[in-house]
C-alpha cells in the first residue's frame, strides 16, 4: 500500500516536471477553485446577512399585526437585493471568464508558436543539403561528356549531403516532448567508457590523445539521455581538435562531468549562442566543411536543464574550450 502511494507520488512529480499542460491544468484548477469559493462566500454572505436582519428585526418589539406587512415588505426588498447581486455576479464572472479563458489557451498558444518557429528553423536547415543535392544532380546532367571521375565526384557529393540529412532528421526527432521519462540509476563511468568505444574510429582517425580521470557516481536519469550528453560533447571535442590533439575527460564524485579539448576553440562573442538550436560556430563552417546539424549542444542543454543540472563552457587558457556539466 505504501509503495503504491509513493509510486503514485513519484508519478505526479514526474508529470509536474515534464508535462507543461499538466502544470497549467493544476494552476487553472486552483484559480477556478478560488474564484468559485469567492462567489460562494459572496452569495452566502449576503444571504446570511439578510437572514440575520430578519432575525434582529424579529427580536425587536414589533406589533404582531404588522409582522405580516413587514414580511411582505421584506420579501420584496430581499428579491430586489438578490436580483442586484445576481446581476453584479454575472458581470463579474463574465470578466473573470474572459481572463480564465485566456489563461487556459496561453500554454497552447505558446506551444503552437514554438512549434511554428521550430518548423521554420528545421525547414531552413533541410534546404541547404537539399539544394546541394539538387545542384549536384542537375549540374552533372549538363556536362556533355561525363567522365568516370566526374561521376564519382558527384555521387560522393550527393552521398555526403544525404548523410547529413539523415543525421539531421534523427536529431530532430529527439526534440519530441519528453512526456514519459524512465528514471533509472545510471552508472556514469560505464557509459563514458562505452561512448569512448563508440567514437574510437574518429579518435583514431585524428590520432587524438585521450586523457581520462573517471570516478564513478550514479545519476537518476534515462541511460539514453546521459549517453546523448556524453556523445555530443565528446563528438564536438573531437571535431574541433587538431590532429594529434589532446582531449581530457573527467568524472568527479561531486557529480561533475567535464570534457576539455585544445583545438580551435570559440571566440568570446560566440559563447552565448552555442546552445541555440541549429547554431554552428563560425570557424566550424570552414573547418569541418559544414558538417553537423548544429543541434547537438541544444539537445544536451535540454536534457541537462530537464534534470535541474547546469552546463557551462569556458575558453581554455591556451586553446580550445572546456564544457563542465554539474548534475543534481
Amino acid at each position: 500500500m505504501r509503495r503504491k502511494c509513493s509510486r503514485l507520488f513519484e508519478g505526479l512529480v514526474i508529470d509536474w516536471k515534464s508535462n507543461e499542460f499538466f502544470r497549467a491544468r493544476i494552476k487553472l484548477t486552483i484559480f477556478y477553485a478560488i474564484i468559485i469559493a469567492a462567489l460562494i462566500v459572496l452569495f452566502s454572505g449576503t444571504l446570511w446577512f439578510e437572514i440575520n436582519e430578519i432575525h434582529d428585526n424579529f427580536h425587536q418589539e414589533k406589533i404582531i399585526e404588522s409582522n405580516e406587512l413587514f414580511l411582505d415588505e421584506f420579501t420584496d426588498e430581499f428579491a430586489d437585493k438578490i436580483l442586484l447581486i445576481d446581476i453584479f455576479v454575472f458581470i463579474l464572472t463574465t470578466f473573470l471568464s474572459y481572463f480564465l479563458a485566456g489563461k487556459n489557451l496561453q500554454p497552447i498558444a505558446k506551444k503552437m508558436k514554438q512549434q511554428a518557429q521550430f518548423i521554420e528553423d528545421a525547414a531552413h536547415e533541410i534546404k541547404n543539403p537539399l539544394a546541394a543535392i539538387f545542384a549536384s544532380g542537375t549540374s552533372i546532367l549538363r556536362v556533355k561528356e561525363i567522365s568516370d571521375k566526374q561521376s564519382r565526384e558527384v555521387l560522393g557529393e550527393i552521398l555526403e549531403e544525404s548523410n547529413r540529412l539523415i543525421s539531421l532528421t534523427s536529431q530532430l526527432l529527439q526534440f519530441k516532448d519528453k512526456e514519459h521519462v524512465s528514471l533509472e540509476e545510471v552508472q556514469v563511468k560505464k557509459i563514458v567508457e562505452k561512448i569512448i568505444q563508440t567514437l574510437q574510429p574518429l579518435l583514431l582517425e585524428k590520432k587524438i590523445i585521450l586523457d581520462t580521470h573517471l570516478v564513478n557516481f550514479s545519476l537518476s536519469m534515462a541511460e539514453s539521455d546521459f549517453e546523448s550528453i556524453v556523445f555530443n560533447l565528446l563528438h564536438n571535442a573531437i571535431k574541433f581538435s587538431h590532429k594529434e590533439g589532446k582531449i581530457i575527460i573527467r568524472l568527479e564524485k561531486e557529480k561533475k562531468l567535464s570534457i576539455q579539448d585544445f583545438g580551435i576553440g570559440l571566440s568570446e562573442k560566440e559563447i552565448p549562442f552555442i546552445f541555440d538550436r541549429f547554431y554552428k560556430a563560425d570557424k566550424a563552417r570552414t573547418f569541418g566543411a559544414n558538417t553537423g546539424s548544429g543541434l547537438g549542444l541544444s539537445i544536451v542543454k535540454n536534457i541537462i536543464h530537464f534534470h535541474n543540472g547546469k552546463i557551462r563552457v569556458d575558453r581554455g587558457k591556451t586553446a580550445g574550450c572546456v564544457f563542465t556539466v554539474t548534475f543534481k
Binding site: H124, K127, N128, L130, A131, A132, F134, A135, S136, T138, S139, I140, R142, V143, K144, Q150, E153, V154, E157, E160, E161, D282, K283, R285, T286, A289, N290
Partner: protein
C-alpha cells in the same frame, strides 16, 4: 569572363563551378567572407561578376557587399541564399546586390540571370562576330564555330580568345592577358599563355595563320 564564387558550402560550390566551367566561364572560388572581400577589392578590374552566398564564415555576404559598394566597386552581384523571405531580400538589395536567387535554384535560371547582368555591364558583345569569313565568335552562347561546326576549346582557351576579341585589332600584352585570365597563385604563366595560344591556333586558325598575330616581345593581336 571571370566569375568570383563566394560560397562556403563546398559541395554546392563544386556543382556551381562545374556548370560555369561547362559554359566556358572562368571561376574563382573562395569560401570565407573576409578573404573573399580582400580578393575582390584587389582584383575587381578582372572580375566580371560575383555570385555571393549570404551565410559565410569570416564576414557575412551582406556586410561584404556593403563594404565593396562603399569603395565604389560596381561589379554585378547575384546573391544566393536559402532564405527567401521579403526582409532578407530587402536587406540584400539595400546592401547593394543586383539580383537575388533563393536556393535551391535551377541552373538555367542562374545562367540567364548571369547573362542578363553581364549584358548591362560593358563586357558583352551583342551579336556574333565574324573573326574570319568562316569563323564566328558568339559571346552570349559562349561558342566558337567554323563553318557552322562548334570548335571545342577549353575554358582557359576560350577566355583568352574572348579577351583578344574584346580588344580586337589592338596589341594586348602578355601581362594584361595574365591579369585578366589567370589566378596569381598559379604557375609560371608566360609559358602557359604561349601554350594556350598555340592550341587556339591549332584548333581555330590552321588555315588562317594571319588572324592571331604574335607581337614580338610584347603580346598578341587578333586581327579581324
Amino acid at each position: 569572363m571571370k566569375i568570383l564564387l563566394i560560397e562556403d558550402h563546398l559541395n554546392l560550390a563544386s556543382s556551381i563551378k562545374r556548370v560555369l566551367l561547362q559554359e566556358n566561364f572562368s571561376v574563382e572560388h573562395i569560401s570565407n567572407g573576409a578573404e573573399a572581400e580582400i580578393f575582390w577589392i584587389a582584383n575587381n578590374e578582372n572580375i566580371d561578376l560575383v555570385i555571393l552566398d549570404i551565410q559565410l564564415p569570416g564576414k557575412n555576404g551582406f556586410k561584404v557587399c556593403e563594404t565593396i559598394r562603399k569603395k565604389g566597386i560596381s561589379t554585378p552581384v547575384i546573391m544566393l541564399t536559402a532564405k527567401s523571405e521579403m526582409n532578407e531580400k530587402l536587406a540584400g538589395f539595400m546592401a547593394g546586390t543586383d539580383d537575388y536567387l533563393p536556393k535551391p535554384f535551377n541552373f538555367d535560371e542562374l545562367l540567364m540571370r548571369i547573362q542578363a547582368l553581364l549584358r548591362r555591364s560593358n563586357v558583352l558583345i551583342p551579336q556574333k562576330i565574324k573573326i574570319t569569313s568562316v569563323i564566328t565568335f558568339d559571346q552570349l552562347a559562349r561558342k566558337i564555330e567554323k563553318n557552322g561546326q562548334e570548335i571545342r576549346l577549353t575554358a582557359k582557351e576560350f577566355e583568352i580568345l574572348e579577351f583578344l576579341v574584346l580588344n580586337k585589332n589592338q596589341a594586348v600584352s602578355q601581362q594584361k592577358i595574365f591579369d585578366h585570365c589567370f589566378d596569381f597563385a598559379k604557375e609560371n604563366w608566360s609559358n602557359t599563355i604561349e601554350v594556350h595560344i598555340k592550341n587556339i591556333r591549332k584548333k581555330c586558325f590552321v588555315d588562317e595563320k594571319e588572324v592571331l598575330k604574335t607581337v614580338r616581345g610584347f603580346g598578341y593581336r587578333l586581327e579581324i
